[in-house]
Each structure stands twice: as structure tokens, then as C-alpha cells.
Amino acid sequence: YPLNGAVREKDPSMDLLQQYLENYYDLAKDVKQFVRRRDSGPVVKKIREMQKFLGLEVTGKLDPDTLAMIRKPRCGVPDVGQ
């Protein structure tokens, strides 16, 4: 039984989120999404950090409000980090 499980559909909003966190929340470029893990992996931690900074409900998930926020026009300067 292949260890890597069924190949999942690429989720464009996950890419959008990944890009957003890399651009504005100092997420390291090579960190892959661990949606199945319950605990707060680096990406989930970054989602929480972003939701807190931007005044969203801190769910750690890519909920509709968060998705709407990362689609809004903004300044290109990061929100945290260098």
C-alpha cells in the first residue's frame, strides 16, 4: 500500500495561503503544509499569527474570512520579520 497515500488535488487556495505566509509572515519557503496533523505545525502557527495580526478570528484554519483577507489588495512590505 503506497506510503504516500492518495495523490491529493492541488488546492489553489492552499498555494495562495502558502505564498501569503511566505511573503508577509516569514514562513520558510520549504515548509510544506501538514493539514492532517492536529498540533500546531509551523504553517498552522503562521496562520494563527496572521489571523491575530490582521484582526481575524484565530482558528488556525484557512476559513472563508481568512481566504477573503488574503485576496484583498495590500502593501508589499511584510507584516513581520525582515
Binding site: Y24, F53, G55, P73, G76, V77
Partner: protein, 379 residues
């Protein structure tokens, strides 16, 4: 509010900006005034002043660009990233880039240039993003901002003042822009303070202007009461804390100096193409500023005073004369060693040094009276 890591900030309060290119979405005047208004928002709550230059390297260089534009942080087409800016510092630092794939507008029919510019200039001054959704420095563009009554949020003011402090005389409800004489507020220079000194003094169309900090007194022959105004009331683009000013009568122009820049003003109009660099007048490259200047309307010669020396400029040939600088003490005995300001009236030169004023007869080459600096203000 947050500031950039390492707390970069400008070590001077007078900054220059240059609009390197323009978007085709708006008339140039609209772009000019959007940036002027955006800088004014920060100027009103800090000691900072800004002046526009048209060539060379400014502290804040402003570009419109699309996609890759030379700083390894390419723009992304229409939407998403609108602009970015760099914290205070040399070269690229302090600069602002606008994504010209956006539709830049004066109103809300597209992306409002003033609003985005005011945010980006916050970065150029050292502010990072704010988590306060009502703050200008919140990272996400708010198309619902009321542009007619725009004001910086308290969070923005707290942030920028944590870097530069409040304006030299901060009134509780922010600096007003009066049309008549400004009533003296605490911290503004007192007209008849016996210790009063001036930054610069110049005639202007028969009146005499006495500049001090952000203000000036205006003394005309027709009123016994000098008026007191903010410089920005008449010349919004001029900096405060001027170094020198003089009138060239036959050009109906007053030249105003600060640091290594000078402006030409005619009445209330700052002439296009200014400020220019003072070295274009023929000063040596090492010279950083001048202390005082006066133009002799009879002889058509302009005198520039720097420390204990002076230069003479020929208004006819528009060139600095040979054989200068000379010692002030040699040709203007009794007024030095150095001067704050000078102007010409009734054929005399009136030199200002601290609270003292020296009436100098250029023909007799001697001081004929010593007065208090503010005696022209009916003190």
C-alpha cells in the same frame, strides 16, 4: 504600531523627495498633489519637513513600475500587492515603488494614490505595519476610508512620534492653517522677546519678512502691527528653519535657502524647477549651507555670508565673482564674526546676530546703529 527591526530612522528632519516617473493613469499635477498631501499628513505630526527635488538622489525616490523592476521584489500585476517601500537609509532605502498595473485614481474609482502613498511614506520614515485596522499603517488597503476627512489614526501618530517626537510646537488638535495672523501659542517665538533671533530676513515687494522656525513675521508699511504666520500658510512646500533669504528686486523674486538647497518664490508661488542645489551658484563643493544673504539692488550684487567669510555674486553675469571668499571683518567691520541674517533697507544693510541688529552703511563701511533684532516689529 511597529517599527522596522533595528529601528532605522532618519537622523535629520529635513528630507527631500523626487518623483522619478509618473503613472499614465492620472495627470501629473494630480500625482504631485497626492504625494504632497501624503507627506503633509506626516509633516503635521512630526518635526519633519519635506521638499521636492527634480534631479539627483533624493532621500525618498518615488517610482511607478510593473513586475520585475530592479529590486528583486517584482510586482504581481493588477490587485494583491499595490506598492512597497524601504525603511530609512541611503540609496534604495527610503524609496517608494508603486505597481503601475494598478489603476491609480484621485478618488475611489480605482486605487487611491494619496492613501497608498501616505501608507508607503510611513515605511520610508521608519514605520512597519500596524495591527490596528483603523490605522493608516494597517497592511491591507481599505477602499472605504473617508478621504474627505482623512486623519492619521492615533496609532499612526504614536508610532511616528516614537521615532521623531511631536512637531516643534504641537497644538492639541493638530496644526491649524490660519488665514489671518497666528495668535501666539505656547512654544511659538514671542515677538518682543528681548532674546529673539531670526533664521532669515528678506524684503518682499515693499514688505519685510522675518523668518523663525516654522513661522514668519510680515511687516508692511501700511500696518503698525506686524502679522505672524506659519511659513506653510503661504508656501506649503518650503521647509521650516530656513538659513537665508533675499529679494532680487528687478526679478521680483525672493530666493530662500536651507541646507544645500534653494527655492525661488514670486509672491506666494514657488517657481517650478526648484529647489536647486546651492553649488549651481558657484560655491565650492565642500560648502554645506549659507548663513545669510542680501542683494544690493543698486549695485546688482548679492552677498552670501558663511561663517566668518562672504562671497559676492554678480546678478548681471549671474556668476560668483573672482577673489572671494573674503573675510566679513575686512569689509563689514563690526557686524561679525558671523551673521544670522541680513537685508537691505533705505540703502543700509541690516545685519542680525542673535538678539542684536547692526545698521551698516556700505558707503561709509561702518556700523551706524546697534539695535535689538526685533525693533522692526515695533517692540
Amino acid at each position: 504600531f511597529t517599527t522596522f527591526p533595528g529601528l532605522p530612522k532618519w537622523r535629520k528632519t529635513h528630507l527631500t523627495y523626487r518623483i522619478v516617473n509618473y503613472t499614465l493613469d492620472l495627470p501629473r499635477e494630480a500625482v504631485d498633489s497626492a504625494f504632497e498631501k501624503a507627506l503633509k499628513a506626516w509633516e503635521e505630526v512630526t518635526p519633519l519637513t519635506f521638499s521636492k527635488i527634480y534631479e539627483g538622489e533624493a532621500d525618498i525616490m518615488i517610482f511607478f513600475a510593473v513586475r520585475e523592476h530592479g529590486d528583486f521584489i517584482p510586482f504581481d500585476g493588477s490587485g494583491n500587492v499595490l506598492a512597497h517601500a524601504y525603511p530609512p537609509g541611503p540609496g534604495l532605502y527610503g524609496d517608494v515603488h508603486f505597481d503601475d498595473d494598478e489603476l491609480w485614481r484621485e478618488d475611489k474609482s480605482g486605487t487611491n494614490l494619496f492613501l497608498v502613498a501616505a501608507h508607503e511614506f510611513g515605511h520610508s520614515l521608519g514605520l512597519y505595519h500596524s495591527a490596528d485596522p483603523t490605522a493608516l499603517m494597517y497592511p491591507v488597503y481599505n477602499p472605504h476610508t473617508d478621504l474627505t476627512r482623512f486623519r492619521l489614526a492615533q496609532d499612526d501618530v504614536n508610532g511616528i512620534q516614537s521615532l521623531y517626537g511631536p512637531p516643534p510646537t504641537s497644538s492639541p488638535d493638530g496644526p491649524a492653517v490660519p488665514t489671518e495672523s497666528v495668535p501666539p501659542e505656547p512654544g511659538t517665538p514671542a515677538t518682543c522677546d528681548p532674546a529673539l533671533s531670526f533664521d532669515a530676513v528678506s524684503s518682499l515687494r515693499g514688505e519685510i519678512l522675518f523668518f523663525k522656525d516654522r513661522y514668519f513675521w510680515r511687516r508692511s508699511r501700511w500696518s503698525l502691527e506686524p502679522e505672524f504666520h506659519l511659513i506653510s500658510t503661504f508656501w506649503p512646500s518650503l521647509p521650516s528653519g530656513l538659513d537665508a533669504a533675499y529679494e532680487v528686486n528687478n526679478k521680483d523674486t525672493v530666493f530662500v535657502f536651507k541646507g544645500n538647497h534653494f527655492w525661488a518664490i514670486r509672491g506666494t508661488e514657488v517657481q517650478a524647477g526648484y529647489p536647486k542645489d546651492i553649488h549651481t551658484l558657484g560655491f565650492p563643493p565642500a560648502l554645506g549651507k549659507i548663513d545669510a544673504a542680501v542683494s544690493d539692488k543698486e549695485k546688482k550684487k548679492t552677498y552670501f555670508f558663511v561663517e566668518d567669510k562672504y562671497w559676492r555674486f554678480d546678478e548681471n553675469s549671474q556668476s560668483m565673482e573672482q577673489g572671494f571668499p573674503r573675510k566679513i571683518a575686512d569689509d563689514f567691520p563690526g557686524v561679525g564674526p558671523k551673521v544670522d541674517a541680513v537685508f537691505q533697507e533705505f540703502g543700509f544693510f541690516y545685519f542680525f546676530r542673535g538678539p542684536l541688529q547692526f545698521e551698516f552703511d556700505p558707503n561709509a563701511k561702518m556700523v551706524t546703529h546697534v539695535l535689538k533684532s526685533n525693533n522692526w516689529l515695533y517692540c
